[in-house]
């Protein structure tokens, strides 16, 4: 993980024997500094290797250690390296690296090095400090001029290899960090590897330790623990599923009806069989925003709803938009371009938005609400399916009120299907 000092070739360290006591004293220090990582740190199996430049992990939770590297590093920095390497494994950087390489067509050793650097950035921005020393030469987002707190996949888009990364070209955290097999790897059949199930079990115990005592862990680790076994679904897919489900529910969409005889009725005289009829859903989109949601976010959400409702059979004229004042300026041009009729308008209280949408004749089958959550909700369940898209970024930013510090906005009611957007 740390750049090898240029000029110090592995050959000069060939005579150094591995100082096991130093290596394991460093792990003990790491465990004491980060008790919630103890299970994972202890699950790592250390393998002495003279091929590996520094310290590297593979996807089976083996940790390859260069004796010369252990000799050079102080115990406290070695502890930082332990935590860094185990973080690669906990955050599944090899699996994510494989996926991102396949999705974006990244091939070649240079790209794997970029994946390794991006993964290092994801880890290093909040892993050190608070009792754990930062190893010399650790790459972090700030040294690349990038913002902190992002994920490997995001960092990967934001930098290229170049002269400024010359020192980093020496770094190598092994196949556990980027998914590319290394010559020193023992492979799936080697001894002391962890099976995928065992890896999940270790990850789970670490995540449980963090969520059990959230005060001890930094924000990055808490977020990891929350998401470790609930891969966050993208809001587009969730909103799509919610709208589709609402729009194809009984009363709308494609379903069987007794209103007309079935094509099979002739074969069964005397019996009334249902036939398949398509009744496209009417979708009303109520937009409420008090300016905290960006135009781009709102626009993409609105476009999404329009395209989804068209996909489930709604014709353009069946999608209506009920704007609440601030949103009108975005909704109008968008709807003009999409050919969606605009009705209603005015009033920032969502309840009036609901009332306007429901007052339309014929009544909508589905009401989709796009809001930042800072609103009172109708007291009773409206007589149609309701999907609420909440712009969670806006909600998190504005959970306080100057006049009333104890103010907590009402959460969306139980009867609605709620999708967090953003």
């Amino acid at each position: 993980m740390t750049p090898r000092t240029p000029g110090a070739s592995p050959a000069s360290h060939a005579t150094v024997t591995l100082d096991r006591e130093k290596l394991f004293a460093a792990r003990l220090h790491a465990v004491r500094a980060r008790p919630y990582l103890a299970t994972a740190l202890f699950a790592l199996h250390a393998v002495e290797s003279r091929q590996v430049p520094t310290m590297a992990v593979d996807r089976y939770w083996r940790c390859y250690v260069s004796p010369g590297f252990v000799d050079r590093m102080p115990v406290e920095e070695l502890a930082g390296v332990w935590v860094h390497e185990v973080s690669h494994l906990l955050r599944d950087h090899h699996g994510r690296g494989d996926r991102v390489a396949r999705q974006r067509g990244l091939t070649g050793p240079g790209e794997r090095l970029r994946i390794n650097i991006a993964a290092d950035c994801e880890i290093n921005d909040d892993v050190f400090g608070d009792g754990l020393a930062r190893p010399e030469g650790a790459v972090d987002p700030r040294s690349l001029g990038l913002p902190e707190g992002e994920l490997m996949e995001d960092y990967l888009r934001q930098f290229r290899l170049g002269a400024h990364l010359e020192r980093a070209a020496w770094l190598d955290c092994g196949s556990g960090a980027d998914g590319l097999e290394r010559p020193w790897d023992l492979g799936p059949d080697g001894a002391h590897g962890l099976s995928p199930q065992e890896q999940d079990a270790v990850r789970f115990r670490v995540a449980q330790g963090i969520t059990g005592r959230p005060g001890d862990a930094p924000r990055g680790w808490r977020r990891w623990a929350e998401e470790a076994f609930h891969t966050p679904q993208r809001w587009r897919e969730l909103l799509g599923a919610a709208v589709r489900s609402a729009a194809t529910g009984s009363g709308a969409g494609e379903d069987h009806t007794y209103g007309r005889p079935s094509r099979r009725s002739a074969a069964v005289p005397g019996a009334v069989l249902p036939s398949l009829r398509r009744r496209p859903p009417r979708v009303s989109v109520v937009i409420d925003t008090s300016g905290s949601v960006s135009d781009a976010e709102l626009g993409s959400a609105l476009l999404e709803v329009a395209s989804i409702s068209r996909a489930v059979g709604g014709r353009r004229d069946l999608v209506t938009v009920v704007p609440c004042d601030a949103a009108a300026r975005i909704a109008h041009p968008l709807c003009r371009a999409e050919g969606i009729p605009l009705i209603g308008g005015g009033g920032t209280d969502l309840r009036t938005g609901f009332a306007t949408a429901l007052a339309a004749r014929p009544r909508p089958d589905v009401v989709v609400v796009l809001t930042d959550g800072q609103t009172p909700w109708p007291e009773r369940r409206p007589p149609c399916r309701t999907v609420v898209g909440v712009f969670s970024r806006g909600r998190r930013r504005r959970t306080w009120d100057e006049g009333d510090p104890d103010y907590v906005p009402d959460s969306p009611p139980d009867w609605a299907r709620v999708v967090d957007i953003g």
């Binding site: 006591e21 130093k22 394991f24 004293a25 460093a26 792990r27 003990l28 220090h29 500094a33 103890a38 299970t39 994972a40 740190l41 202890f42 699950a43 790592l44 199996h45 250390a46 102080p74 115990v75 406290e76 502890a79 396949r102 400090g129 608070d130 009792g131 754990l132 020393a133 099976s195 199930q197 065992e198 999940d200 079990a201 270790v202 789970f204 115990r205 076994f229 609930h230 969730l238 599923a241 919610a242 589709r244 609402a246 729009a247 194809t248 529910g249 009984s250 969409g253 494609e254 379903d255 069987h256 099979r264 069964v268 005397g270 019996a271 069989l273 249902p274 398949l276 999708v419 967090d420």
Partner: protein, 419 residues
């Protein structure tokens, strides 16, 4: 038909292949000629076990990734005739039965006639019924299908016990319609995510498909398997009552597996089947997580790991030949268990045996693991207990611990200076 001149030019008589369909058949035969190689397949093994345990399975997977091929393979190896029903091209009456009006409906009622495939299944008495494309069927067809899956009824027919049912659906993200299981229905299925393995597909298209070895239940293991499954599930639920029943909350968990007494009973069955078949933990992991959900499933698997740990009393009885786990975290858990056992029932002989165990752990594995157990064990000392001679062999651990302390002190000083 091509003309003769186009295919047999010149005076030399053409080969006998004048019929293009024969040539095409030959080419197809060459293409079909593929070898197989043994390759463990946890997905298929999990599916086989769930089918053997007679639990309804729901395969979630994108279209075209080989769900049908896997089912064909499974049916062949279980020697069950396969009946595939594409749900989306049927009407509800195909599953609930077609009303047939007789002479006197008011007197005799209207029987619901079952479709031919159901009649054939019942006549055969056994078979594998594959309900494909569940996600693109209309809500009414889905409702009719669920009665078939849950009550095993098609019209007036009841499917015999030898018929096993597997359904397939597309994930919500790619489903064209709003197929979604309500929580009570989701709770009745074993959810298996069906994904394709990149290497398997590439190698298969190259001519070599994998051949999975299917699990076989070992009759000798049955009583132990049931006992093991009961201990695992009851042990966990006794300690974690909150896990017994937890309705899914939030949009992301909709339509998936969640824990309830019903799904825990399914889990118990699956553990017994996996144990009797000697399946790997990976297979059991897929099944358990697909039945009670990820969180409770992983807790159960962690509990199984703890059940695999050596019994502290056995370790204390013969510390010099004790078999400690190789994996560091498990070894530490075993040593912690030993210290806890001594604390629960303190005695000089047990205390000495624990020290001997620590020495053995020190000599056979990483030394940092024993620092915490050694500290805890030292704290248990009573006044009249002499320090055992073996403790000297732990000097390495003590110096290692001091080294870590010094590193921590240096970090603290550096952080203070930086502030």
């Amino acid at each position: 038909m091509p003309t003769d001149t186009a295919y047999a030019p010149g005076p030399v008589p053409a080969p006998v292949h004048t019929d293009q369909l024969d040539v095409a058949g030959e080419l197809l035969a060459l293409l079909r000629d593929a070898r197989t190689e043994p390759r463990p397949d946890p997905q298929l093994e999990a599916l086989t076990l769930a089918v053997a345990a007679d639990l309804p399975v729901l395969l979630w997977g994108e279209p075209g990734i080989g769900k049908t091929a896997a089912l064909t393979h499974l049916a062949a190896s279980l020697d069950l005739p396969l009946t595939t029903v594409i749900a989306s091209v049927h009407e509800p009456s195909d599953f609930s039965g077609l009303p047939v009006v007789g002479d006197d409906p008011a007197e005799q009622g209207i029987p619901m006639a079952p479709p031919d495939w159901a009649v054939r299944l019942v006549r055969a008495g056994r078979g594998l019924l594959f309900l494909d494309e569940l996600s693109t069927a209309t809500p009414a067809v889905q409702a009719a299908l669920l009665r078939l899956v849950l009550e095993r009824r098609v019209g007036t027919l009841r499917l015999p016990a030898g018929v096993r049912i597997v359904a397939a659906a597309n994930p919500r993200a790619s489903a064209a319609d709003g197929w979604e299981l309500s929580p009570p229905l989701a709770n009745r299925f074993v959810h298996l995510r069906w994904a394709h393995d990149h290497d398997v597909v590439v190698r298969g298209l190259g001519g070599t498909w994998p051949r999975a070895t299917l699990p076989r239940l070992d009759p000798a293991k049955l009583p132990d398997a049931v006992d093991f499954a009961r201990r695992a599930v009851c042990g966990l639920l006794a300690a974690r009552p909150a896990l017994v029943h937890r309705l899914p909350s939030g949009e992301t968990q909709r339509g998936g597996a969640w824990p309830s007494p019903r799904s825990w009973e399914m889990t118990l069955h699956l553990i017994a089947f996996a144990t009797a078949a000697g399946s790997a933990r990976d297979v059991l992991s897929l099944l358990v997580r697909g039945t009670v959900g990820d969180g409770p499933g992983l807790e159960l698997l962690a509990a199984l790991d703890r059940m695999d740990l050596p019994d502290p009393e056995t370790l204390l009885a013969d510390p010099d030949h004790a078999d400690l786990p190789e994996r560091g975290d498990l070894r530490q858990a075993a040593l912690d268990g030993v210290v806890a056992a001594v604390r629960a029932r303190p005695a000089k002989s047990r205390w000495d045996a624990a020290w001997a165990l620590l020495v053995r752990a020190m000599e056979t594995g990483a030394p940092d693991l024993i620092v915490v157990p050694a500290t805890d064990l030292a704290a248990l000392r009573e006044e009249d207990w002499d320090v055992p001679a073996a403790i000297e062999r732990l000097a390495g651990a003590v110096s290692l611990s001091r080294r870590a302390d010094r590193a921590a002190a240096r970090v603290a000083v550096a952080e203070e200076a930086a502030r």
